[in-house]
């Protein structure tokens, strides 16, 4: 301890600029990271969430590959762990590869190779956050823009069912409400509307806050669609909102020169799910007959968007791909991870860069009682804790570089800032080792 602090004292501090933040879908690329020796000591420009990730990355880390669940786990070498994983994979008939939220596109591509080589199913975490956005996009198409369009042009900003103050803390300052662009000089040239079921911290900055009854987004969006199309409503109140207030909002939308509807899991996870997003898309379609309007999903984990992009270019489908017939197949409800788990269909669960044990419904993950679980993660997550084999990997975007996509599909290169702990490889390298051993193409 003393020795290492002396080494640190002596080490020269260096700073790495324009670092891409690896926390949320904003992927802010202006972080300034100070490094002493091989340790990150300070991160400037980051929000509380990003800062926490950088500064606490080494806490509770998985440092050795392990075999066995929780307390009966024992440390093994990487090659032993890989041997076991390869054996498990070779003996499986229908493995499910899941995760891919917090890693690079390079790793995701290897995950697809692996799933294809083994005839398994592969899904990414976006299915349980903005999966409905994708489903709605397949139905109608998304009407979207990169965030710079908002920064430079948007005079009406609507946050619907999302709470950037807590989930995307720099979103408003960097990309929307407070940002200065070519045609918009800042907050006073924009109107801000928040629609939510509770008065979130985001709602406090709004010019207009509309509180709707939980689960009534679809009704409210339908009513807005009617109003924007100049059709009459017979009711006085929709989803707990007075029609007069909706008329106010509809007028604001139509009168905007460039409007944007940012929407979050308030739409995608509440009843109606993808149909809520479809209603939002249809509303924006009609708005485009009168003015310029776009919508942008507030994507969560830093590279979920990248997972969708990689899945789409390789397999044609953005999520939930089943290779059991030798080619990509996709049907929500059938090839989606939660449904495969719910029906207890997979005979192996392979998790990379995410924590399904914490974030999927318990009734679905209970199937993990019956089948082997393999996890690749930098940290000891609950999923790692209960997995039969866990292999530590380096942090993408901190310890290894890689390609990532921001929430608006702008591609970025995440940087390497420090070295990973001794003996720990990137998930790309580990996946390559496994792929080679199961007879996949490289």
């Amino acid at each position: 301890m003393i020795a290492s602090s002396i080494i640190e004292e002596e080490a020269v501090e260096r700073t790495v600029e324009d670092v891409v933040c690896t926390f949320c879908g904003c992927c802010c690329d202006d972080l300034i990271v100070s490094v002493k020796g091989n340790r990150i000591v300070d991160v400037r420009n980051a929000c509380a969430l990003g800062l926490s990730k950088f500064l606490h990355m080494n806490e509770n880390r998985l440092l050795k590959p392990k075999i066995g669940r929780s307390t009966s786990a024992k440390d093994v070498s990487l090659s032993e762990a890989v041997d076991v994983v390869v054996d498990l994979l070779k003996n499986s008939c229908y493995p499910l590869f899941y995760g891919w939220a917090c890693t690079s596109c390079e790793a995701i591509l290897l995950g697809l190779d692996l799933a294809e080589a083994l005839g398994g199913a592969v899904d990414n975490t976006s299915i349980v956050c903005h999966g409905p956005t994708i489903l709605a996009g397949q139905e109608l198409g998304l009407i979207t823009a990169t965030l710079g369009q908002i920064k430079n042009r948007a005079d009406l900003i609507i946050y619907w069912g999302c709470n950037p103050v807590e989930a995307h803390p720099r979103h408003m300052a960097r990309y929307s409400v407070y940002a200065r662009g070519r045609f918009i000089e800042g907050r006073r040239m924009r109107k801000v509307v928040v629609v939510d079921v509770r008065r979130t911290p985001t709602a406090r900055v709004a010019d207009l806050f509309i509180e709707i009854k939980p689960g009534y987004d679809y009704e409210v969006l339908s009513a807005l669609k009617m109003l924007v199309r100049d059709l009459d409503l017979e009711v006085d109140e929709v989803g707990g909102v007075a029609v007069s207030k909706l008329e106010e909002l509809a007028d604001m939308m139509v009168e905007a020169r460039f409007g944007v509807l940012f929407f979050g899991t308030g739409l995608t996870m509440s009843r109606g799910k993808d149909k809520n997003v479809e209603a939002a898309i249809e509303l924006v379609r009609y708005l485009n007959f009168k003015t310029k309007f776009v919508l942008i999903p507030m994507r969560g984990h830093f590279n979920v968007t990248g997972a969708n992009e990689v899945f789409t270019w390789r397999t044609g489908y953005p999520v939930s791909v089943d290779f059991s017939q030798g080619y990509p197949r996709y049907l929500p409800g059938e090839t989606t991870a939660v449904d495969i788990l719910r029906r207890g269909e997979c005979d192996l669960f392979f998790v990379v860069a995410s924590d399904p044990v914490s974030h999927l419904p318990r009734r679905a993950v209970e199937h993990l009682n019956n089948i082997p679980v393999v996890a690749l993660d930098p940290k000891i997550t609950p999923t790692v804790y209960i997995s039969d084999v866990a292999i530590p990997v380096a942090y993408t975007g901190i310890e290894v570089e890689g390609s990532v996509y921001r929430m608006d599909t702008v591609p970025l290169r995440a940087k390497k800032i420090v070295d990973p702990p001794q003996g720990i490889l990137s998930d790309v390298d580990v996946l390559k080792m496994i792929l080679e051993r199961v007879g996949g193409r490289m």
Binding site: S52, R69, G215, T268, M269, R342, V357, S358
Partner: protein, 133 residues
């Protein structure tokens, strides 16, 4: 529909700063456990249930039940219970996806009652899922 001490509410899950900040430290540290086992409700509803602010409640859905601490917040409308994403609340969420692949994590109807149990232990929730052997 809801007698004294028992209330039917709509469950909303979401991100909170505390949950977000602590999840990348460790999901085994108290701070995170605390973040994901603390729910927010309207003060009037808390009064109906009959627990003090900071007291404990059981949340029951058809799929499971958990015990959490309740905090009063006037930003939450009546009839709504907000709790951050995490393993605790996922005990309550239905596994059916209605053909969309995504379970309904917001807007589920649940019952809350005062509790004299301890707050759900995150570690034992994890172990019970993993069938630790």
């Amino acid at each position: 529909m809801s007698g004294k001490g028992r209330l039917k509410v709509v469950l909303i899950t979401g991100r909170s700063v505390k949950q977000g900040v602590s999840k990348d430290v460790s999901k085994f540290f108290d701070e995170y456990s605390e973040a994901i086992t603390t729910c927010e409700m309207n003060p009037a509803d808390i009064e109906v249930i009959g627990v003090p602010n900071g007291g404990y409640i059981d949340i029951v859905s058809p799929y499971g039940s958990i015990t959490v601490q309740v905090k009063s917040s006037s930003d939450i409308p009546r009839g709504v219970l907000f709790i951050p994403y995490g393993i605790a609340v996922n005990t309550l969420i239905p596994p059916d996806t209605e053909g969309t692949g995504i379970p309904r994590s917001k807007g589920l109807e649940v019952f809350v009652t005062p509790s004299n149990k301890r707050v759900s232990d995150v570690r034992s929730l994890i172990e019970s899922i993993g069938g630790v052997r």
